[in-house]
């Protein structure tokens, strides 16, 4: 163990078991400020904690918490599809962490949404009172609600193993393949529909980001986001939860990183091609020479082409460190893309004094959401069989894989 690793371990897992670790203190302050902002939001309204207005009804909460959050939570469906549908059993140990990340990601998306909408108690209305079936937002709401349920069911075997409910756990595991297929279908729908929300505003979204193919761009970039998040989360988990991991997870981890880097690289190459085709179809080449064009190129070259190449070099040379660092660039690239579409390139022609800058309250609540996610993740992985196989179900885990592949010969 390196000296740096020892310092980091002692910082986050002190042996004296005092609650007042730097991590806990920082999280505590964030939670307190978050709770205060929550009270301000629900007593003072949106204006008390946001800079939203008629030009920007969607701000940081939609741009980052919802759009980027949903994209980055895509690791759940990509990993379970790779393992259970495409038969890549070598990724099996990564499924539970990916599903957990996805479940917490979507849960926080819904929590953030409750802050953003005017009447959060009416969130179930589209299903119970009036469905706007011609609205893409209705389809996003339906798919996110259903997918959150699917993710909860996919995550539940880990919780049930911890609680000791064997029969229920076995019953849910039997429907894993159905849940995975349903999850992929729902993800395809809502990931693309989040992009399709902007189809109705061609005059508001800058032409370099607006395209009739925007649903395809969002879906394909969600695959990149999912694969990169699994690598990123795996890297962080190895650093801070190494003692929770069993031999299977540790043995499969390197192969997972290499495999996902290869996949992400190839998908990124395809994404680059379709983005260039999108510019060609609308004949937007001349816009690349404008300031927004330069920003578009920063996003496309710096945060898509570069990580695409770095992932490829890392996968070829089996350079795990390079891949892990590249995943940070890729994740930032997805966040940048969503923020560009939602905020920066949206209403691009408005004068600067009318542009949207997030209120500190919005930033505070976003950090609050992220902190809740990290804390819940930490609690679950330290208590439940996420990075290891529960000893009472070891023989079940082998059976869980084989019934899904009987037809693959």
């Amino acid at each position: 163990m390196s000296e740096q690793h020892v310092v980091v371990k002692k910082l986050f897992f002190p042996t004296d078991r005092s609650l007042y670790t730097p991590f806990n203190v920082v999280c505590g302050v964030i939670l307190l400020v978050g709770l205060l902002l929550t009270v301000m939001r629900f007593t003072g309204g949106l204006a008390a904690v946001t800079n939203l207005d008629d030009n920007y009804p969607w701000g940081l909460w939609i741009g980052f918490d919802l759009m980027a959050g949903v994209a980055l939570a895509a690791g759940g469906y990509t990993t379970s599809a790779a393992c259970y549908i495409f038969g890549m059993k070598r990724f099996h140990s990564a499924v539970r962490p990916a599903i957990l990340t996805g479940f917490l990601g979507y849960a926080l998306v819904v929590l953030s949404l409750n802050y953003d909408v005017g009447r959060p108690w009416r969130l179930p209305y589209p299903f119970a009172v009036q469905s706007g079936t011609t609205s893409l937002l209705f389809e996003v709401a339906a798919c996110v609600a259903l997918y959150l349920t699917v993710l909860f069911l996919e995550y539940s075997p880990a919780a049930l193993e911890w609680l000791g409910f064997k029969k229920l756990r076995n019953a849910i595991v039997k429907v894993t393949l159905v849940l995975t297929i349903f999850g992929v279908v729902l993800s395809t729908l809502h990931q693309s529909s989040l992009g399709a929300l902007f189809l109705i505003a061609p005059s508001k979204l800058h032409p370099l980001w607006y395209s009739t193919y925007i649903p395809v761009y969002f879906f394909v970039s969600s695959i990149i986001a999912g694969l990169s998040m699994v690598i990123f989360e795996g890297t962080l988990s190895h650093k801070y939860f190494h003692d929770r991991m069993d031999e299977t997870y540790r043995a499969e981890h390197d192969g997972l990183v290499l495999g996902f880097a290869k996949g992400a690289s190839f998908v990124m190459a395809g994404y680059l091609i379709i983005k260039v085709i999108g510019i060609a179809v609308d004949n937007q080449w001349h816009l690349l020479a404008t300031p927004y064009g330069l920003w578009f190129l920063v996003e496309l070259i710096g945060f898509v082409a570069l990580p695409c190449y770095l992932y490829a070099v890392g996968a070829r040379d089996k350079n795990l460190k390079l891949i892990q660092r590249t995943s940070i660039i890729a994740v930032l690239g997805i966040i940048l893309n969503r923020l560009n579409v939602c905020l920066i390139a949206f209403n691009w022609y408005l004068p600067w004094n009318q542009k949207y800058i997030p209120h500190w309250g919005e930033i505070g609540l976003t950090i609050f959401m992220l902190t809740i996610g990290v804390l819940v993740f930490k609690f679950i992985v330290t208590k439940q069989p996420i990075f290891y196989e529960h000893p009472k179900y070891k023989e079940h885990h082998a059976e869980d894989l084989s019934p899904h592949h009987k037809g693959h010969h």
């Binding site: 290869k262 690289s265 190839f266 190459a269 395809g270 091609i273 260039v276 085709i277 060609a280 179809v281 609308d282 004949n283 001349h286 490829a312 996968a315 070829r316 040379d317 089996k318």
Partner: protein
């Protein structure tokens, strides 16, 4: 190449032509990229 397009027909002939050329280059490039990516898989 930056001429004015008087009809939709002219516009689409131009853009489709450019797109076809890009697609041919893209298919060749992505094949080469795949070979680059999987070159050392057996090592």
């Amino acid at each position: 190449m930056d001429g004015i397009f008087y009809t939709l027909q002219d516009f689409m002939t131009h853009t489709k032509g450019v797109t076809y050329i890009i697609m041919v280059l893209a298919l060749v490039s992505i094949t080469a990229f795949w070979r680059f990516l999987t070159d050392r898989d057996d090592d």
